[in-house]
């Protein structure tokens, strides 16, 4: 089986077929061993970690992934600290950094920043989150988490809960899930419902889905529940926010009707969507998601450099 990621950019989950995704998942599942063996397969490689907006979690994950494979990292973690403030364009900075590195990991609050970077550069670009649209490596890790923790994906009933409209996490995950034979339950207030384009793509893929407002009415049906942050500033009034926030606090009570096999996930950071009292449950895997993230990013780097 040829490696579909060799020399490729990773810009959007939409760019990859089910076969590609499965190939990545399989590679990721081998990374635990490579990590423990202290692999040095990337010891001649440098990753440019270009975080135009701060992101500790994703930055550290890519950093660790590169270093676990023996590679090195150069970069910056904040737009203001960089030379951008001298008035240089992103395009020029990218062309400079290209001389120092073998792969670019780019995070930006601007839509399409990573795709733009890829159009300029000759070295591969990995999108570490751009605007409100794309965060493909988060989606890959979410999928890897489901697959590793459940053992399979086809046949599952998966709930996405909270802000399904504004966040890039859900927007990147839905096209991936659409490649599988699953049932999707979309749980959100109407104002935070899944974008029309995402629903259209679900229909096109033939994925069964329904939209509900109350978590309690569907929690018993779910094999996996993916919680997201609801950000106060989205709401017209404090009252509206509070009402909705009340619906989506996952705690021992909310979980009463749930299967004890219900996988609990969250891309983090969580604020109050999940009560800390839930953390100790064996099916609460949101603190294992970063581990799957490390493995998926190790796998991506190893595949892009085609050294396996």
């Amino acid at each position: 089986m040829t490696n579909p990621f060799a020399g490729k950019n990773v810009l959007s989950t939409k760019d990859f077929s089910k076969h590609d995704v499965e190939y990545l998942m399989e590679t990721a599942s081998k990374m635990k061993d490579m990590k423990q063996d202290g692999s040095k397969v990337l010891s001649n490689k440098i990753m440019a970690s270009m975080f135009l907006e701060p992101s500790t979690r994703t930055r550290l994950s890519f950093d660790a992934a590169m270093k676990r494979l023996g590679g090195q990292v150069v970069g910056f973690s904040d737009w203001e600290k960089s030379s951008f403030h001298k008035g240089e364009t992103l395009s020029d900075t990218l062309r400079v950094v290209e001389n120092y590195a073998d792969v670019v990991v780019l995070r930006s609050k601007y839509e399409g920043a990573a795709r733009y970077a890829a159009s300029i550069l000759e070295i591969p670009v990995i999108n570490a989150g751009s605007g409100s649209q794309e965060h493909p490596t988060q989606a890959f890790l979410d999928l890897a988490c489901i697959k590793e923790e459940k053992g399979y994906i086809d046949g599952l009933t998966i709930g996405l809960c909270g802000d399904l409209h504004y966040g890039r996490t859900v927007h990147s995950l839905v096209p991936l899930l659409a490649r599988y034979d699953i049932t999707l339950v979309l749980i959100s207030p109407e104002s935070l419902g899944l974008r029309d384009e995402d629903k259209a793509s679900l229909k096109e893929s033939g994925v069964t889905f329904k939209e509900v407002e109350l978590l309690e009415t569907v929690i018993g049906d779910l094999d996996c529940l993916y919680m997201t942050r609801i950000q106060r500033e989205r709401f017209p009034s404090e009252e509206d926010y509070r009402k909705v926030r009340g619906f989506y606090v996952l705690n021992q009570d909310t979980l009463k009707g749930a299967s004890d096999q219900l996988l609990l996930m969250h891309p983090l950071p969580r604020i109050n969507e999940i009560d800390p009292g839930v953390d100790a449950l064996p099916q609460a895997v949101y603190f294992k998601q970063p581990m799957h993230g490390l493995h998926v990013r190790m796998a991506l780097l190893a595949l892009i450099f085609d050294i396996l």
Copy 2:
């Protein structure tokens, strides 16, 4: 002799026996050679350097220690740059970072932060300074400096001078010194005297100590003088501060009554407690303390991973 640090947390100097401390000192004294040989014993390990408040000196020392042993580092150097500002708790961040690293080095202005981290994490935690209470690796390096530069500790008369009340450095060093057969001279204005708990622990350990205000009256008795910063903001009035500051400027004059074997130490940064005219004296070792710090931290990391 079994390694008492294998897999352990390093949270407070109080947690370690004299035997443990001696074991560490002996390991540290071997690190100069390992440094020169370019040891790669930690080449499969990643240290998470989590500095919730900035600290160039300690952060760089741990960074260099890990890298001198072939290890890698991921982390952040400033709370504001991290994702904490999205409202995540320290607990959650720690549980995320745990997936990326094999050891956590934590610096925080909050009391007990490192102990709290250790209670949550399964990987070892090293306290790189927490609140006003603990800075164990600074105390270990101070002790290593005395031992390496003097050749021994038992029998010495050691002066601690300046702010003995608020600083975490002295508070961490005193319990270590109390494990040895030394005489302690506490030199401070009354308002900055050693904390009652520290004096109690000295009494309990049977350490002879006395408290004085004037450095000049005791400097002739000392084998080692450990200066500390006195911070202006502690004092009720500018006049009080100035009077005290005058007492504790170490210069050629102040040193007239001192033995020419008197070891001069300071945890740094120094402001005006030591006149630069003193720097060239052979017994002024405050710029060698960071070297001992590097060796002690290399030793701690090597021992925690038990790879010697």
Copy 3:
């Protein structure tokens, strides 16, 4: 031929003879191969990257250079984040950091900062830009770019255009060019003309040069055109600035009278001195300059440690 950089500081281009410079250029031209082979010749070395003012481009270049040779880096990228704000002097910080590293790379807005550091430290210091006077590694890379892209330096007619007065780039490059048999064309508004000391040194070296205001009148004579940023704040009025800015925008029009062999260079960042429409020309090498910078810095580090 003995290595003239072994154990040496790199503070100013004026400190190096033509022989030294040629030695560096030859070493730099071998670095492309060492980079691809994944050399680990500096695997036992640590570079302290001390950026007292932010500089993404230069910091990343040194970072990548050290890591391409297998070395490690510790440091900080911003004065404010460092412990300097506790009131410590630069001198003290340098003496601390010396314990952690084998070479110091120092960037500062203060004149003479690197030379001062070198006077204090026993390990080599590389000046990564100090005040308005010196940026030797930028000048070395500029020269390397000319030599690699043209194949030779003697005999060339080289134009320097824009702000020839305030920038440290030109001030560091001129003494290097003065070692060669070239003709220099200085293109600038009168108020931004080359400093008197630089003109005196050109005369002393016997370099033919002329000063002009209009780029168009001389562009046909040039083999190489080195553009620089003109910073608005230098000018007495917005009108004066605009008039001058108009002269020095390099675009397809301005280039009409130029040889199609004319090498186009810029130390970057560029603002509007070069129209993006020029970027695609084969002789526009300003985005290859950083590559030569990487090679020159790799060469400097390898030579300082004398490991070739």
